[in-house]
């Protein structure tokens, strides 16, 4: 499940105190990573980003077009709309901008987090994030 459950736990624990911004950084040498990013954003358009995110991680590496459409069906999405978005790469502009941002910031590893500017690379336990977030919340109050 990757770091998804930890991120959700963070969001629940710090409800109203923390804002999550997700940037896409599909791995350049994996042929299906771009289309998987498109699928996640197409699902977001229909309000099911996290559901698709978790499914993509669970099913990886079965992430070709047919698989993604099947997952959209599984999640009860409007498949016609989803497929059109996938085929036209309707979020390619956003994904490319995200990738450029990552390269400009000299980032190469996923997941990478920035918590008020503090960089954390890799999946880490909730307690690890908690310590940083608590420190940053404390700093923000001062």
């Amino acid at each position: 499940m990757g770091v998804g459950p930890t991120v959700k736990k963070i969001l629940n624990t710090y409800k109203g105190k923390i804002r999550l911004v997700i940037k896409n950084y599909p791995y350049k040498y994996r042929d299906y990573s771009h289309i998987a990013a498109e699928a996640a954003l197409a699902a977001r358009d229909q309000g099911k980003y996290w559901e698709m995110h978790d499914l993509l991680l669970e099913k990886s590496p079965k992430l070709d077009r047919a698989d993604l459409i099947q997952y959209a069906q599984q999640l009860g999405l409007d498949v016609k709309k989803f497929t059109k978005c996938l085929d036209t790469m309707c979020h390619a502009g956003q994904i490319e901008r995200d990738k450029k941002l990552a390269v400009d910031m000299d980032l190469y590893n996923t997941p990478t987090f920035f918590i008020n500017g503090r960089k954390v690379i890799g999946e880490r336990p909730f307690e690890y994030f908690k310590q940083i977030i608590d420190e940053e919340l404390k700093n923000a109050k001062q």
Partner: protein, 390 residues
């Protein structure tokens, strides 16, 4: 100047004092200060030792002062260290350009990555914890399983490892050769511009030999500064060298005996649950000619290297220098905190091990030991200026 008789008498007194001091110090400490002095420092320290023996009681187990060990065939030069630093930070050393040595040995995390199981090449998973590089120059064996005997040998392993940097070394040499600034630097350092893997390793090893824990309170204490340790830390030191039995393996300059022990740290469940780690385990076992690699479900440790039964699940005694900053601990990161480490040793290690016995430390003694480990073994911050890469 004393006359001959006085000199002989003084000399005999010094020898007696010295013998007594050394005996006491060995009994009390079994540790040595971290000596990083240059030749003039050695002379000064020696003079103090000879003529002010009372100071020696405070100075600990004084022995000939040693500098950082450097192999004769790879002398340190500022140019080589600088080249090594650049290569250490350079992602060209990985197959897909996403990994450098820094990825897992981050200067801001005491040259670890702070993870139980280290970061890995994209789409793969590592299977062990990234050890700190601080004081790596003092280690006789490198890696948790001790498969390398020199830094020059060690450096190339992660580069060619399929689950770390995944770089073909022949190709890496040509990639580095295609960068004119590097060719010029190789000329300056090695006499010509040949960017061989051996030279790349030599330069990185030279840089790594500069990553030294300096002026930790323990060093100051052993050199004679009684105030360097707090009262609690001093009690922790007594436990470290006494009831806690830590110093039976963690001694010397680097607080390690450079030996291997099977403490039976529990397997990391992540290693069992993640099929990618299973693939890594089987791959490494196959590379090391472990016959039944397909059915291997645990980490055999040094056995993979020696095929000696006594080395089954044995791992190297790590340095304890900078221990407060280098968690999670053990070869698979199963012990998250120093409290967990102390508990592990207090109960006599993992199930089935014969290397350790329960210690019976009180809660107060555990606390004192932790204070010693965190307070006494943390040196000055190692500040690394990030290099400008060509």
């Amino acid at each position: 100047m004393p006359n001959n008789e006085q000199a002989r008498s003084t000399s005999r007194k010094v020898r007696e004092d010295r013998a007594e001091i050394k005996m006491k110090v060995r009994m009390i400490f079994s540790l040595r200060p971290l000596h990083l002095c240059t030749a003039p420092g050695f002379l000064i320290a020696l003079l103090i030792f000879l003529f002010v023996p009372t100071l020696s009681v405070l100075a600990g187990d004084l022995e000939p002062i040693t500098a950082v060990p450097v192999p004769a065939d790879n002398p340190q030069t500022p140019e080589k260290i600088e080249l090594g630093k650049k290569l250490f930070f350079d992602r060209r050393l990985s197959g897909d350009g996403t990994m450098s040595c820094v990825t897992c040995h981050d200067p801001e995390m005491a040259f670890t990555d702070g993870l139980a199981i280290s970061l890995s090449y994209p789409t793969t998973k590592n299977w062990r914890n990234a050890p700190t590089l601080i004081n790596v120059a003092f280690q006789k064996y490198l890696f948790h399983d001790g498969r390398a005997r020199s830094l020059e040998e060690q450096v190339l392993f992660p580069m060619m490892s399929a689950f770390e940097m995944n770089r073909n070394l022949d190709f890496m040499e040509e990639v580095i050769r295609s960068v004119p600034e590097y060719v010029e630097e190789f000329k300056r350092v090695f006499g010509d511009g040949d960017t061989t893997r051996q030279r790349i390793a030599m330069a990185i090893a030279a840089f790594e030999r500069t990553l030294i824990s300096k002026n930790a309170p323990l060093d100051r204490y052993l050199r004679g500064d009684k105030t360097a340790l707090s009262t609690v830390a001093k009690k922790g030191l007594e436990i470290f060298t006494g009831k806690g039995k830590c110093a039976e393996c963690h001694y010397g300059v680097n607080l390690s005996d450079d030996k291997f022990y099977a403490l039976y740290v529990p397997e990391n469940p992540e290693q069992q649950e993640d099929p990618r780690i299973g693939a890594t385990r089987r791959y490494v076992a196959k590379v090391y000619h472990y016959e039944d690699y397909r059915n291997l479900t645990e980490d055999p440790g040094r056995y993979l290297i020696t095929k000696d039964k006594k080395d089954w699940k044995a791992f190297k005694t790590p340095t304890l220098r900078e221990i407060a900053k280098t968690g999670p601990y053990m070869h698979n990161g199963m012990l998250k905190t120093l409290d967990e480490v102390i508990e592990f040793f207090d109960r006599g290690g993992g199930k089935g091990n014969t290397a350790l016995k329960p210690l019976g430390l009180s809660e107060e003694e555990k606390r004192q030991l932790k204070v010693f480990l965190t307070e006494a073994l943390t040196g000055e911050p190692i500040v690394i200026q990030y290099p400008k890469l060509p």
